[in-house]
């Protein structure tokens, strides 16, 4: 496919890889919103990103920034700064980048699934939930106009193995924060430091309408487990999700009425869809015929 014409997706910051993915003298080609890009780290350490044509000719150059362990660019003129995740400043947190995983799905389906609690007992059985404790108790979800984000909190759910550092099943508190259409973080009870939250986030690189690369990361308090073990746990959970994500029809998230039915437990997703509709985002959505 060719570069999207969706101004909302174009005029926003998007992830294109981990900082470590771009090494000096090793230009890398990638895709973003249907457009081919080449990114190269120069001798002075700066990364330059260019759009390239089908024939490989260099076209316009794109702004770049390196933040949150990842590299960000835009195909347009963002109306606002890249979002902030202040917990990256907390030096006692362990940062774990899980790497990029290609998913044959719309990046929006990936974000929606991340916001979903009800699937825990069925997709992550005996880790993030199990029958018969399937109830999603009432919680709050809202669009926060002042920060232009979607938030959900007051969530509590029984989990058998909530984190690698968790011992035994218990009720786990959650908060969700959607910072931009393809990027989201969650806060959950920290087994090691009950007064803090552990953070798990997803940055989804929308390659095509039906294809994305998902970079998961953690900002946790965990003095027991190695980085490798933490990555393995997170990847196992995410690979369980991929089974679902690559089997949703239509591929795009439908924002029009009547296409998909929701229940009370889907509040966060309904706020997310409403927010996307208000923004007028098209990339990764399903259009009514």
């Amino acid at each position: 496919m060719t570069k999207t014409t969706d101004p909302v997706a174009i005029n926003d910051w998007q992830v294109i890889g981990r900082i470590d993915d771009f090494l000096k003298g090793q230009p890398k080609q990638t895709r973003l919103l249907g457009q081919s890009l080449v990114a190269e780290r120069h001798k002075n350490g700066d990364i330059k990103v260019h759009e390239i044509s089908e024939l490989g000719e260099t076209l316009r150059s794109c702004p770049v920034q390196e933040k949150f362990g990842h590299v960000w660019t835009t195909l347009g003129k963002p109306k606002r700064e890249l979002f902030d995740i202040p917990e990256f400043q907390q030096i006692d947190r362990k940062y774990v980048g899980c790497g990029g995983v290609m998913v044959k799905a719309s990046a929006l389906r990936v974000v929606e699934n991340f916001l979903d609690i009800g699937h825990f007992p069925y997709v992550h059985t005996d880790f993030l939930g199990s029958e018969p404790l399937t109830e999603v108790k009432d919680y709050k979800a809202e669009i926060r106009i002042d920060v232009d984000e979607v938030w959900a909190d007051d969530i509590s759910f029984h989990q058998d193995k909530a984190m690698l550092s968790a011992t035994g099943g218990k009720a786990v508190e959650y908060m969700y924060r959607v910072v931009s259409p393809f990027n989201t973080v969650l806060y959950k009870t920290c087994p090691e430091k009950p007064e803090e939250w552990d953070i798990i986030g997803l940055f989804a690189q929308p390659l095509e309408e039906n294809l994305c690369r998902v970079y998961a990361f953690m900002l946790v308090f965990d003095s027991q487990n190695t980085e490798t073990d933490l990555i393995h746990f997170q990847q196992m959970i995410f690979f369980q999700d991929i089974i679902i994500l690559e089997n949703q029809l239509p591929v795009g998230v439908p924002l029009y009425d009547g296409a998909e039915r929701s229940i009370k437990a889907d509040k966060t997703q309904l706020q997310f869809r409403k927010w996307l509709k208000q923004k007028g985002l098209q990339f990764g959505t399903d259009q009514e015929t």
Binding site: G118, V123, P132, T134, E135, I244, Q248, E260, A265, T289
Partner: protein, 273 residues
């Protein structure tokens, strides 16, 4: 914008009943529409759009739990009529009547599973039944995918193979010079050098994509049924049933003879001209 696929307004055979056991879930495609076909523990077969009304997850990933189909994603359970009866996230509530899977008509007849849209007016498959010689004992031969459109299958019937050798005498098998003649639109004859008829095929369309086919040689007439399932513009599934004049003492090798003959048919239909 891409038009979303819909079911055609007629009965379409999607496979043999014997290939769908209790508790089993299959995927079939009719004219690019993906369906889930599943059999509950009472033995009833069901045909629905292969997507959960909640988040579009393929229901074929799910499980048959008793007489309900449970979606893998959130465990929602649907009864045979498509009605959602249980949403585990809110376990104590009764789902609204409007919360339903996208269901279609699904019946079994002649050992085949047939699907039609809910608004198809000839909802009684027996309308079809009266056109088939129901006294005959039809048995499944095989289902196969042919890389050819259903229209082309009919256009290319002139390339149909000679009857299977299993049902022919040694005399017939020894004849090498024979000609295929299209006598009428629906009658094909094989003749030898002296214009004697060695074998004949006669086709009769029972309904679109469902054809009865009489295969006669040396005084024996076998009846075949071709049930065609259009998958897309280049792919068709053929479900083949056989009712020989008599099921000889060795019915398996008779079926096998037609099964092998059908592979020859497929090879010829897939030739690119």
């Amino acid at each position: 914008m891409i038009q979303k696929p819909v079911l055609p307004k007629n009965w379409v055979a999607v496979g043999f009943s014997q290939d769908l056991e209790k508790g089993q879930i299959n995927i079939v495609i009719i004219e690019e529409l993906e369906l889930v076909i599943w059999r509950d523990h009472k033995g009833q077969a069901h045909a629905w759009d292969n997507r959960c009304p909640h988040r579009g997850t393929r229901l074929s990933l799910g499980f048959v739990r008793g007489n309900q189909l449970a979606c893998l994603y959130h465990g929602w359970q649907f009864g045979g009529d498509g009605q959602c009866v249980y949403t585990p996230s809110i376990p104590d509530s009764t789902p609204p009547k409007s919360l339903k899977a996208h269901t279609h008509r699904c019946v079994e007849f002649l050992g085949l599973i047939w699907v039609a849209p809910l608004d198809f007016e000839h909802k009684d498959i027996r309308g079809l039944e009266s056109h088939v010689r129901d006294s005959m004992d039809f048995q499944p031969v095989r289902s196969m995918i042919i890389y050819c459109s259903a229209e082309n299958i009919f256009n290319r019937l002139a390339s149909i193979p000679f009857p299977p050798s299993r049902i022919m005498s040694r005399r017939l098998r020894s004849i090498s010079n024979m000609r295929l003649i299209r006598e009428t639109e629906s009658v094909f004859l094989w003749e030898d050098d002296e214009n004697r008829t060695l074998a004949s095929y006669q086709f009769r369309e029972i309904q679109p994509d469902f054809v009865e086919f009489n295969c006669e040689s040396e005084g024996t007439a076998d009846v075949l049924l071709f049930a065609l399932q259009k998958i897309d513009s280049q792919k068709t599934a053929l479900h083949l049933l056989l009712a020989p004049e008599n099921w000889s003492s060795d019915p398996i090798s008779l079926k096998l003879a037609y099964a092998q003959w059908s592979k020859k048919l497929r090879n010829q239909l897939e030739q690119v001209f």
